[in-house]
């Protein structure tokens, strides 16, 4: 999550801190020290994080802007807890936050998912002596409880500031390291941004689920089969070089860049499973399914940023036994060799996916809806059009007739059956002299059957009963006569 650092630069931040040493520190200096530590940590372990810096006192100023826009943010507010007095102070704003109108809404909660971390350049006792802590706690509450307040333990000094920022780093900026495995091939990776814990159902299963640090590849599937699945989040999977472990974690590496470059070059020449996997997935047009936890899966794939740049990316599916309806249950997927017959065909010309649902959706099964008159009229017209083309259209005529009959019976719309019966009888009288004699018989037969059904009592009104064409021998006898 990108970070906005909001730093209090009001006058109270220049209050000196009594330190036994010779140098005199202000609270501002402590804040700067802490932030430097945070930024150094990011520069080494969280390189892809984006940060912006805003300073404020009675006014605010954006010192370092983001160059992009985002959906989610982390806000780090650095203040000494002197909240000011009068109009525009936090106390006043909180007290009047219900009186605001839509155009000057209170800024919290932020209109995007966010975390608000408040770093106090003061210790707990100092904050509790006034109502500052309550006000700051209300800020976190207003942000839907997303965030935390940090205070300095013990006297204000560089060391304690450092330990406070250390806690923030542990909480919010620890890189997520994992081992990517496929059979006996493995690679140490960093997953960026950190995958956040996920709550499956706040009522049944309220404990947030975190993903495994062992990411085991359980299979591969064509991109066409997985078919742009919905995902919770996506993350870069970056291979980690395994040289000197100490170097990797420690903040504030002072290596000169040349050293680092040559180290990178060496690392670049050691084969890495991530690179192999990325290349294979890209060439084959496939994704790898990865196990993230019990009944939780994700996919690894090659993500091309541009024509030249591409990366190994991991997307997380929603936890559950069946995250994608068109693949069915994940537990039932297996290697092709386990199937009696290759489900992709000998020439790779078919696919077992997508799975067909047991029941068709309304738009795939020709349901009858007569809520608008036009729906009813269309269905009646279809019958009439086919009636005029009897006996050629006998099959379609009865098919449409039975469809209308079934719906009318289900809706208890028996008047419609009578009406259509009347209409068919009238059609019978209107038949031209040239009409095939069968047409008259079929129309009369159909009308009789509908009438019988409209009485609602006989077996003709049974839902599963179908009107079948009247058996006539016109077709054979007429040819004989000619």
């Amino acid at each position: 999550m990108p970070t906005v650092v909001v730093m209090d630069v009001s006058l109270s931040m220049t209050r000196p801190v009594s330190v036994e040493g010779s140098e005199e520190y202000q609270r501002k200096h402590l804040a700067v020290h802490g932030l430097t530590m945070l930024f150094e940590h990011m520069a080494t372990n969280y390189k892809l994080e984006f940060t912006a810096l805003v300073v404020f006192s009675s006014l605010w100023e954006l010192m370092v802007p983001f160059t992009r826009d985002y959906n989610t943010l982390q806000v780090v507010l650095v203040t000494d807890g002197c909240l000011g007095i009068g109009r525009g102070s936090l106390r006043h704003s909180l007290a009047t936050c219900n009186q605001r109108n839509e155009s000057s809404r209170f800024p919290l909660p932020f209109p995007f998912p966010s975390k608000l971390y408040i770093m106090c350049m003061a210790n707990l006792e100092e904050l509790q002596s006034s109502d500052s802590l309550d006000c700051l706690e209300r800020l976190v509450d207003l942000n839907n409880g997303e965030g935390q307040i940090f205070t300095i333990d013990g006297p204000l000094c560089l060391k304690n500031v450092q330990s406070m920022f250390g806690k923030l780093i542990d909480l919010a900026y620890t890189p997520f390291h994992a081992v990517l495995k496929c059979g006996h091939l493995t690679s140490d990776v960093q997953v960026f941004p950190r995958p956040e814990p996920f709550i499956i159902d706040e009522e049944i299963d309220p404990i947030p689920k975190a993903i495994n640090t062992d990411l085991e590849i359980v299979g591969f599937i064509d991109i066409a089969d997985i078919s742009s699945p919905p995902v919770l989040s996506r993350h870069l999977v970056l291979p980690i070089a395994l040289n000197k472990e100490g170097d990797e974690m420690g903040p504030g590496i002072t290596d000169d860049t040349e050293d680092e470059n040559s180290a990178n070059q060496i690392a670049g020449k050691i084969p890495n499973f991530c690179v192999l996997l990325h290349g294979s997935l890209k060439v084959e047009g496939m994704v790898a399914i990865v196990q993230l936890g019990p009944e939780w899966h994700g996919m690894l794939y090659s993500q091309a940023d541009s024509k030249k740049k591409s990366n190994l990316m991991m997307s997380l599916f929603e936890p559950g036994p069946e995250p994608l309806p068109w693949l069915g249950k994940m537990a039932q997927l297996g290697p092709i060799s386990d199937a009696k017959e290759n489900p992709y065909g000998e020439d790779d010309n078919k696919s077992p996916f997508p799975l067909q649902p047991k029941n068709k959706r309304s738009y795939a099964q020709n349901v009858t809806v007569w809520i608008k008159p036009s729906g009813l009229q269309t269905d009646v017209q279809k019958i009439l059009r086919n009636a005029r083309k009897l006996p050629e259209k006998t099959q379609t005529f009865y098919k449409e007739l039975n469809r209308l009959r079934k719906a009318a019976l289900a809706f208890g719309f028996l008047d419609l059956l009578k009406g259509v019966a009347d209409m068919l009888e009238r059609e019978c009288t209107l038949l031209p002299d040239t009409a095939h004699p069968d047409a008259a018989f079929q129309l009369t037969h159909a009308a009789q059957q509908l009438k019988a059904a409209s009485n609602g009592t006989s077996e003709y009104a049974a839902y599963d009963h179908n009107i079948t064409p009247l058996q006539t021998d016109f077709s054979s006898s007429s040819t004989e006569r000619i």
Partner: protein
Amino acid sequence: MKIFSESHKTVFVVDHCPYMAESCRQHVEFDMLVKNRTQGIIPLAPISKSLWTCSVESSMEYCRIMYDIFPFKKLVNFIVSDSGAHILNSWTQEDQNLQELMAALAAVGPPNPRADPECCSILHGLVAAVETLCKITEYQHEARTMLMENAERVGNRGRIICITNAKSDSHVRMLEDCVQETIHEHNKLAANSDHLMQIQKCELVLIHTYPVGEDSLVSDRFKKELSPVLTSEVHSVRAGRHLATKLNVLVQQHFDLASTTITNIPMKPTFNVCDQEEQHANTSANYDVELLHHKDAHVDFIKSGDNHIGGNSREGTFKETVTLKWCTPRTNSVELHYCTGAYRISPVDVNSRPSSCLTNFLLNGRSVLLEQPRKSGSKVISHMLSSHGGEIFLHVLSSSRSILEDPPSISEGCGGRVTDYRITVVPLASVIVKEALTDEDVLNCQKTIYNLVDMERKNDPLPISTVGTRGKGPKRDEQYRIMWNELETLVRAHINNSDKHQRVLECLLACRSKPPEEEERKKRGRKREDKEDKSEKSGKDYELEKPWQESERLKGLLDREKEELAEAEVIKDSPDSPEPPNKKPLVTMDEIPPVEKTKGPMSLLSLWSNRINTANSRKHQEFTGRLNSVNNKAELYQHLKEENGMETTENGKASRQ
């Protein structure tokens, strides 16, 4: 998200008493064709639906939309009430579809207007509805079993939608009291039962419906809490289309649905089913289709506050829809979109021609991208419609800019400089190392080779990253040359295993074209072969299990080889460097290696001398003279003979004896 919210269980209670047989007094013309046909014929009188028909078809439409969008875990129990309660289905998933309900409704039939109204009441149905809400669904059962000691976390909530014709407001009060009392009683019963669950929350939605043109005897009332367990709301709605509209609004509220209108859908009238009336239209017109889906598909619009939404959300005039523009799909290419959600859809007007054209198009396997119209005129693709196995989903594509923008390329990181893992040759590479090959294996290898030939012919790039090499890297034909050499080396390393291995080599040799400049490499190839031979012998035991390791190992060798070559290449390609001297007669070099290599198993002597040669070659570059020598004697001034037209091949043959 809560699985067991109120919308997990919906009970429909529809009044089947005699007065429901009354007409809704909204006429439907059904005899339409007559008008433009034979003169002198009076069209049949329009008919009208009964209150019952209106109620049933509206509730079926509610169920249709719900089943389309939530085929699982959202369940309906349908009850009709007259002199008793008739429960038409159960909570089981098999009973949850329109066909089952339609068949059951047909069996009930329309209400009998001549039945004794005194015996009939909606109360029977309401009591049965409470009873059925206490019954456990298979999903609740499953969750309880899974949670074991935490079984109490599984909630039991539900909704009763009652469609009736009430006499007055006090009649409505009476119905509400009855439901409240019944819940109280049944919760006591359920407390002592393993099969029943107490109702935690029940939403009663009472819909009073009456014929069009009459005055309503019942007033509307917003949702009100009658007890901690029961809330109730009253809707007074005219029958006919008004009732259907009301239930459409309700299904959207109950299941958190939202509406999207796809606009600008080009549609050719030829899509139409054999319709004389519409044949005249030879042009394609643009149509709109409205779809319903879960409202989360609009979450980005809500977040960004960018609402190009028409109308307002006042109840009754509920016509809030997001308009998205159809983008005609250009290709059928398979792409992996970054999709943050996929939601099932249901067309509002399922049988209309534009709707069925759109759904059929999608069901046939095409995907359609949808564009968000923006005032600024910029084009943003925000959604995609796509079907998966007969179900249509609205995919939400991420249109906000990503925090992962502009990450370093994988080729810049660990292992990034050795990206050539011989992915294309994998089938062959993993098969050839086996001790014995089946006919199928051989066929597979041959296929791989043909595939490569095909790629070369088409001048397709090999999947080799050129990032590792400085500058432009080898040219494409160079890459192929390198690849063929490596492949040949690999296959040659295994020809001693069986005849079938030999066949693979034959195929390879037959397929590859051999440009003359290759001689030098061929020589190295021979040396390489030695190394291969040795390592193969020691490694045979594990090779079968670990073909990948094998190819990794080979890769190491091949990479070294490639580097050597690359160095050579740099010099050769440079325009400033002089032409490399071509000292050896071409013909000799072309002939010799195949003769040697197709001879089959090598003798100990040749193994030994090859070994010595290899050892020597590591120390210094072999003199061309020694390399071409016969019994350690090199013939000088060969070119003179050549110029004099003498047979050089003789020389070559002699050297091989």
